[in-house]
């Protein structure tokens, strides 16, 4: 069975949906633990949504590379884009609120990735953002 899957996403809503579907199709036959499947899907959606919404300064359509590696102990997802320099690890977590009336509804995608994945690493390489996220291939 193929352990490596490479996808190229176009930075559109349709492109995002297409890659999410293709990733889910690659994961399904592997019958991975529920938690691993869930977190991988979440990582893919949150990181790619962020890139589509905020990654580029123009309205053009750009390519984002997604490399999925399905190991026996760990699943690795690498994202590479040529958008503006952005390290998700530098984003502070949303503040904790005592009252829902004070809170701002957005900005939780990166927090979810950082908390639910097992490791997140960022590099800026040859004018590209390269983000590598690892998820343990187990129920935890």
């Amino acid at each position: 069975m193929n352990n490596r899957h490479n996808f190229t996403m176009k930075t559109t809503r349709e492109g995002l949906s297409e890659v999410i579907g293709r990733v889910n199709a690659a994961l399904e036959p592997r019958e991975l633990p529920e938690r691993a499947t869930y977190v991988v899907s979440l990582v893919i959606e949150e990181i790619l949504t962020n890139i589509v919404k905020y990654g580029f300064d123009d309205d053009g359509v750009h390519d984002v590379e997604v490399r999925l590696t399905l190991g026996s102990e760990e699943i690795s997802i690498e994202f590479e884009d040529s958008g503006r320099e952005f390290n998700p690890l530098s984003v502070p977590p949303p503040p904790s609120y005592e009252s829902i009336l004070d809170m701002e509804p957005g900005g939780r995608g990166i927090q979810l990735v950082r908390t639910m994945a097992d490791s997140v690493r960022y590099r800026r390489l040859r004018a590209k953002n390269v983000l590598t996220v690892s998820v343990r291939n187990s129920e935890r």
């Binding site: 949906s17 979440l42 959606e45 829902i100 009336l101 939780r108 995608g109 927090q111 908390t115």
Partner: protein, 113 residues
Amino acid sequence: MELKVVDTKPGLTHISLTGKLDVEGEGQIGRHFEQLTSGASKPTVVDMSNVTYLASLGIRLLFTCAKSLAAEGKKMVVVNPQPMVEETLRTSGTAHLIPIARDVQEAFSILGT
């Protein structure tokens, strides 16, 4: 994603969601959900027993509507999320601000209805 209105009690809104609350799911039901919740301005029960996946867009939808209800003095309660969805709610801080009930009776009790 499917949204159903459950007719249980007058004076409250009871919604049942089924499927994935991801980019696509939020796009399918988001507006309707807002109309039924913040639009109606009543205590709200959101049954998430059959929600299999929750991403930040879905969390944003819950927060936006719950905040709008809170401004009118009304509460939203989420019911019986599946384990991974519950982990997502707790990790995102949602559970701290929107109560989670084990079942509908507990939700009614939290809402005081």
